[in-house]
Each structure stands twice: as C-alpha cells, then as structure tokens.
C-alpha cells in the first residue's frame, strides 16, 4: 500500500460520495417536505444519463449534452410529479412505494424501447479524458476531479439556496412543519412541483456525471438508489446537511473497503481466506455502518424532526 | 399511615428553556381519588405522560406500588397495574366493543404468546370482557364496531378497557372531555362506583366533576404544584383563586 494509492482511493471515495449526495439531496428533500417515499428517483438518475448520452451524441459535446440534459430531466421530473406523484402525497407510504415502483417499471421499459437494451457510452472530450498530476508523480483522472468539483459546488449552492433565500426558507419551514407553509399563503402545489423538479435535475446530474465512468444502462438507477437510501437514513431523513455528511462517509467507506479490506484481512488471517472474505465483507460494509449509526441514533445523524 | 399507591418525588421535566414540570411532589393513596387541576399550559399533559412512561423525567422519582418505576417502559408500568385513559379517545376502532375489552383482559391475563386457539372464542377472555362492559353499562353494545360508537360511549369503552386490565390505579386524562352534561353525569357515577376499590389520579377540566369525586386536589400552575388539599381547602385557598379559579375556566 502506497500513499499515492491511498490518496487515489480517497479521491475515488469522495467522487462516489458527491454522486450519492446529488441523488440523496433530492430524495431527502422530497421526503422531508412532501412526506413522499419516491423509489422512482433512480429512474430520474437513469433518465439524466440517457438524455446526456443522446444530446452528447447529437452535438458531439459532452458539455452541451449536460447543459441540455439538465433542463430535460427537470422537465421530466416536473411532468412525473404533476401526472403521477401529486395524488400520492395524501396516501400512506405503502401506496407511495408501490406506485413509484410501477413508475420504475414503466421508465425502464420506455428506455428499452427508445434506446434499446444495450448500454450507451458517453464519450468525453479530450481535455477531460486524461489525467492530471495532483502530486509529484501521482496522476488522477481529470473527469473524476470534475465530478468532485461539480458535486461540491452543488452542495455549496444548495446550502446557499436553503440557508439564504426565500425559497430556502420555505423549504426549511416545510421540512419542519408542512402545514405552516400553506398557512403562509404560499402556493404549496407549485412549491412542491418546483422542489421535485430540482431534486430530479440533481438526480439527473448525478446520472450524467456517472455515465462516462460506468456506462449508461437500464437499471443503473436501481442499484445506486438503495445506496442513496442508506445515505439518507444515516444522515437523518429530511436533512440536507445529514445527506452531505453521510454521502461522503458512505462513499469513502465503500471505496476504502473494496480497495483495502483484503490487505487488512491478510494481516489477520491467511491469504486465501482473506481473498474470499474481503469482497463479501466489503460489500456489506456500508450496511454495517448504517446499522451501527441507527443503533445509537435511530433517527440518523442529523434528524430535522424529533419523534 | 397506609403506603401510597403512587408517590412522585421532586419531578422535573424541561423542554429546552421551558420547564414543564417543576419539582412536583404528589402521592395517591390506594383508595383515594386524587385530582390534578390547572389552567391550560400548566403542564398536566406532560405530568401524565411521565407517570404513564411516555416521557422520561429529567430528575425525580416515581414510585408505584412500592417499586421505583421512573425508568420503566410504558408496557411494564401497565403490567404492574397502572391503567390509563387518554385525553383523545384511544381505542381499537376497527373491531367490536367486546373485542376491545377482550384485548385488555388478555393483557391482564398475560398469555399472549399463544398461536393456535382462536382468541374470539376463548371464554377466559370473553366472559370477563362482558362482565366489565356490564359494569360500565355498555353490555347492550357488545357487538358494535367500536369506531361507530357515540363519543361518550367511546370514552366509556376506554374506561372499560382500563378496568379490564385489573389495575391498582387508574390514570385518567380528562375523561369528561367533549362530553355533554348527561354523559358527564353518567361518567361521574361510574367513577364514583369505582371509588375506594382502586386508586385514581384524575386530570380534569370539569370542576363540578372534580369537586364531586376528588378526595384531594393538587393545583398545577406553570409546572409547579402550588397547593394540595381537600376540596374545601382548595376552594378557599387564596393563592389558588388568584392563580387559577378566579381567572378563567
């Protein structure tokens, strides 16, 4: 184990962390404010990636692909909210879970019809496709640095939005006391649609950032959605700050576990046993983290509401 | 002197800067009706919640039937014989009146990890349930779905459930709330019929009911017990009049 490798894996962990944050932010906002459990959030992540792949293909530019993909996902999110989800706010969680599960099936199939069953690749422009020397002799992919930068900027932007603006005030008010927002004479319907659209765009952005690394395919949303759930459970449902801290924590622990757990184990047990056990253990690591956090704090690290 | 059924010593509970219960001492004898009164915001609900086990006090102790229950969870307190009614009626709305009371009998009976025999045909549950319903005057409503009862009847049912657990003490949170004059009178009669057989801690807004039933009264104002005494003493207490009786309600 060298320090260069450790640094590289730390950055990889951050990169996964900020992606998870982009997903979890929308999820936790929508739950905190609308009390809606939205499984279809992963579909918006997938949609963002596919939009970006298509627009990049048309325009030959990843950047334009992202710039077009963002409003496209935003609009899709708004459409989903207005057509399907709005009626679910008053329903219980079981109904929400099932209906949004139905939305996943629908979108997966729709994507299969439009883009075919094969995965798509999002090509990166040359200036993003290389490595940069972050320390003497240590190289790291430029694009991954961009992901971290984008993720941190979004986190900062969200912080400013929530802490400093009128919309943010409403969001905070909504997360702690839903009825109050209505009492303020705000058009709650519109606020909800807007927040959902924002969450959708963030999920889409996560998909666009992940696309060039992992290949865009159907079902990509289902895998990462559960990790995003783990993040918001650890962070405390409804808390953006919690989502940020937990996302980085989960990203780091997952990445570190996969990279170094076998080395650690080899110090304790025989090489063979370590090689068998390490992948299994590292696959379970973030869930163990979740269980541990919940054991001490059943409402997560930063629960906005008591009880 | 008889050992009190409930003995609360130095109870303190605060939320942030607000002190909801401020060094309260109360005891209730095994055969006593002890009423707690106070204006809105006096901390009666918080007080009841600590006795029942829904809230943990910051400091102070709660002794019940000779043992310290300060740290005990709600169900365990109930199993020791502390039964309660809620300010907002709390019953199983989707099953019959008799099913409700049978559930309370089952709680008292203590054998609930039985997986095979049909509970609804178990005479060990149904017979006592009917007896209690007769006692509270709801025996003609046994087969009605509880949610369809009139408000006053639902409160009677809730009391029936409390009685059916065979309690040593009843913790009653505004049992007359939302009742008409006639219903209230019936509830007063019912509680009077229980008097002496079971300790009762009664939180109530209806002063006629309180003065008709209580052996002693404690007045709670802004979390503090400002006076405890027999009804005539409380009625004549200047501080109580000033803080409470004279002003509103």
């Amino acid at each position: 184990m060298t320090w260069a490798l450790l640094l590289e894996q730390t950055l990889n962990g951050f990169q996964l962390g900020v992606l998870l944050f982009l997903l979890a932010a929308g999820l936790t906002l929508v739950f905190g404010i609308m009390d809606l459990v939205n499984l279809a959030h992963g579909s918006l992540y997938m949609a963002g990636a596919f939009f970006c792949a298509t627009f990049t293909d048309w325009t030959d530019s990843f950047i334009i692909g992202v710039l077009l993909g963002l409003p496209a996902t935003l609009l899709l999110g708004i459409a989903v909210e207005m057509i399907a989800l709005r009626t679910l706010y008053a329903r219980d969680h079981l109904d929400q879970v099932l209906a949004t599960f139905g939305i996943i099936l629908f979108f997966n199939e729709l994507a299969r019809i439009i883009w075919g069953p094969e995965g798509l690749v999002i090509p990166l422009p040359a200036w993003l496709d290389g490595n940069v020397e972050i320390l003497a002799g240590v190289f790291y992919p430029t694009f991954r640095i961009l992901i971290i930068a984008v993720g941190l900027s979004v986190a900062l932007g969200l912080y400013v939005l929530v802490a400093r603006t009128r919309i943010g005030m409403l969001i905070r008010a909504g997360a702690s006391d839903r009825d109050m927002v209505g009492a303020l004479g705000i058009n709650v319907k519109m606020l909800f649609t807007l927040i959902f659209g924002l969450g959708a765009a963030l999920a889409g952005l996560a998909g666009m950032m992940a696309g060039p690394i992992i290949e865009v395919n159907i079902g990509m949303g289902e895998e990462i959605l559960i990790l995003a759930f783990v993040v918001i459970v650890i962070g405390g449902i409804g808390s953006i700050r919690g989502a940020f801290v937990a996302a980085l924590l989960v990203g780091l622990i997952d990445t570190m576990g996969r990279s170094f757990l076998d080395l650690l184990l080899k110090m304790l047990i025989s090489g063979n046993a370590a090689e068998t056990a390490a992948p299994a253990l590292s696959a379970m690591l973030v869930y163990v983290l979740m269980v541990t956090v919940l054991f001490f704090r059943p409402q997560g690290l930063f629960a906005p509401r008591g009880g | 002197m008889i050992e009190p059924m409930l003995k609360v010593t130095g109870l303190v509970k605060s939320f942030g800067g607000l002190i909801a219960t401020n060094d309260v001492n109360i005891d209730v004898a095994p055969d006593e009706v002890h009423a707690v009164i106070g204006p809105n915001g006096a901390g009666k609900t918080t007080f009841i919640a600590q006795i029942a086990g829904d809230l943990r006090p910051d400091t102070g102790t709660i002794q019940f039937a000779g043992s310290d229950i300060t740290r005990l969870a709600t169900p365990k307190r109930a199993r020791l014989g502390l039964a309660r009614s809620f300010q907002i009626t709390s019953i199983f709305r989707d099953v019959t009146v008799e099913d409700n009371v049978a559930m309370a009998v089952q709680a008292h009976d203590g054998h609930s990890f039985r997986f095979w025999r049909e509970a609804r045909r178990d005479p060990q549950l149904r017979d006592p349930a009917r007896a209690v319903l007769k006692q509270v005057g709801l025996d003609h409503r046994c087969d009605v779905v509880a949610g369809e009862l009139a408000h006053g009847e639902q409160r009677q049912l809730e009391l029936a459930m409390a009685i059916a657990t065979g309690p040593a003490m009843l913790l009653l949170d505004e049992p007359m709330a939302g009742m008409g004059a006639e219903e209230s009178a019936r509830m007063v009669d019912l509680l009077r019929s229980l008097k002496g057989n079971v300790a009762i801690l009664l939180v109530e807004h209806d002063m006629d009911a309180v003065f008709a039933l209580a052996d002693r009264i404690t007045v709670l104002v802004r979390g503090r017990a400002i006076a405890t005494g027999e009804p005539h003493e409380i009625r004549d207490d200047d501080e109580v009049r000033k803080a409470y009786l004279g002003e509103d309600d």
Binding site: E222 | P75, R84, R93, F115
Partner: protein, 311 residues
C-alpha cells in the same frame, strides 16, 4: 354455515388448482406456471402477515426466498441432497436472519423501517454477488432436487406440484390460525392502535419481532421450493425489485385478507405471462397497471368479493 361469495370463489379456485394436473396431463407449461404461482403465493401469504396484519412494510422479504433457494443450492454444490438436512437448515437460517434483521429494523418506524429492511436485504443480495465460490452473479445450478429418502420424488413434476399445493394449503391454514389467535389479535392491534396496545401492557416489539420471524421462516420455505423448482439460484432472487413484486402481489390481492395474496400472486404471474406474450415490452403496460391498482383499487381483488370477514 352458509357460504359467501368469497368462500365459493376460493373453493372453486382451490379445486381448479387441485385438479389442474389431471385436466392438463400433457401441459407441463401450465403445471410449471401454476407451481410457480403457488410458491410465490406462499411467499405473499407470509408477507401479508407483516404488511396486512402487522402494518410492517417490510421491503426485503425476497431475501428469505433467496436464503431458502441458496440453502438448497449450496448443499447441492457440496453434493448433499438430503431434504431432511437441507430443509430444516434452510428454515433455521431464515429464522435467524429474520430475527437479526427484525431486531434491527423494528427499532425504527415509518419510512425508516421501509428503507432499513430494503437496505438489509440488499446487503445479502450483494453478499451473494460477491461470493465467487457460489457463482457470484450467475448463482448455482441445482442439478439434483432435494431427496426425501424415497418418500417422494421432486423430480417428478406432478408429485412436486402436489407437494407445493400441500405446503400452500398448510401455509394458509397456519396463517389463518395465527391471525385469529391471541398472538394474532395483538399483532393486528399493533396495526390499529399501537399506543393503546402499549398502554394496555403489551410490549409490542416482541410480538412484531415474533411475527417477523414467522413470516421469514414461511417465506424461507417458499425459497426451498423455488430453488428446487427452478433448478438454480442466483442473487437476483433477493434483489429488492423482487421484494417489490411480492408487495405488489399482496396489495393486488388484498392487504390483510387470508386468500387475497394467493389471488394476487396468481393474477400477477398470469398477467405477466399474457402481457409478455403480447409484447416484449410488457412492462410498459404492467407499470401503469400497478399504479392504477394502487390509486383506484383499494382493498385489491379481495374487495371485489364483498365485505371482508375474518372468520
């Protein structure tokens, strides 16, 4: 005793299922389809114990199918085919896992409970994916079905069909007795009014946890059957979307009704079969159908059979 509409429908349904192999002697396709539907019915009935009676929205129930199937698969991998070893071990592991998962998740409530059951299940899914020895993503082939000392031959399709049928009837009967027992009354009370239940003196957690374990074991049985039936096992059986499908079967059939989940499982599979015959893109219809059921068909198929009774 007069029979209501529900009784008539269910009796006819069970007779149809019982006679199917006789009526369709040379139609292995339908016998297979019905076998599958019955196995998933067992899983759905067990899940209903949590969802419908206990108000525990467990989103990881497919895990126990995976445990059952993997037990058969791993034993077969080591060439141990004896069902008298495989099955008790499978049920025991299901019980232990349900006990651990339940003990953790039941400490929380509401949406936390949903997400934690989901995450714990997904943990086992990834465990399956990460173990190369047992085939990782591809899983294991079960080349020899469980053997029961020559008492019954599961390789024989019809015989296996009736074994499954027997276990389905047994499951329904057990759940019927359970939900009407003293224990069941408490679990159902937790759905109706948990605060009241605690105030009466019931430590609700213990009852819920027991129900959670019972449901896990019954679903583990479904997994033992499914592994044998499909002759293979893979992590996908535990994927959270499988759990979602199980929930849908229960809701489609009718939450908290005894036979509802059975009807739900059958309709689910038949619909899947019919739609996928029509178009390979059948999920584009199935997804909105699911949404429509949630929005417009409260009470599920069971509610079409008249007012619910529990007796």
């Amino acid at each position: 005793m007069t029979m209501n509409r529900r009784g008539v429908v269910m009796t006819l349904f069970l007779i149809t299922v019982a006679l199917l192999p006789i009526a369709l002697v040379d139609q292995p396709f339908y016998i297979g389809l019905f076998s599958r539907a019955m196995i998933l019915s067992i899983a759905a009935v067990s899940l209903n114990l949590l969802l419908g009676y206990g108000n525990m929205i467990s989103f990881g129930h497919a895990v126990y199918i995976g445990i059952g199937a993997y037990t058969v698969g791993i034993f077969a991998y080591y060439e141990i085919y004896d069902g008298f070893i495989q099955w008790p071990v499978g049920l025991a592991i299901s019980a232990v896992v349900a006990l651990i998962f339940g003990a953790i998740s039941l400490r929380t409530r509401g949406v936390y409970f949903i997400m934690i059951t989901l995450a714990l299940a997904q943990m086992l899914y990834f465990l399956g994916v990460s173990i190369d020895e047992y085939g990782a993503d591809d899983g294991l082939v079960i080349d020899v079905r469980s053997e029961f000392a020559g008492l019954i031959d599961l390789e024989e399709g019809i015989a296996f069909y009736y074994v499954i049928f027997f276990f389905l009837l047994l499951t329904i009967f057990i759940v019927h007795r359970l939900t009407n027992s003293r224990f069941g009354v408490v679990v159902r009370g937790a759905k109706s009014n948990e605060v009241r239940l605690r105030a009466l003196g019931f430590s609700v957690y213990q009852y819920k946890l027991t129900a959670f374990v019972i449901a896990g074991v019954i679903c583990g049985l479904a997994g033992l059957l499914l592994g044998n039936f499909t002759n293979f096992v893979n992590p996908d059986m535990m994927h959270w979307t499988r759990s979602g499908e199980l929930i849908f079967m229960v809701v489609l059939g009718g939450l908290g009704s005894l036979f509802g989940p059975v009807l739900g499982a059958f309709v689910f599979l038949l619909l899947e079969e019919i739609l996928s015959d029509l178009t390979i893109h059948w999920q584009i219809i199935f997804g909105p159908f699911l949404i429509a059921v949630v929005l417009f068909m409260r009470g599920g198929i069971d509610s079409l059979l008249g007012k619910s009774t529990d007796d």
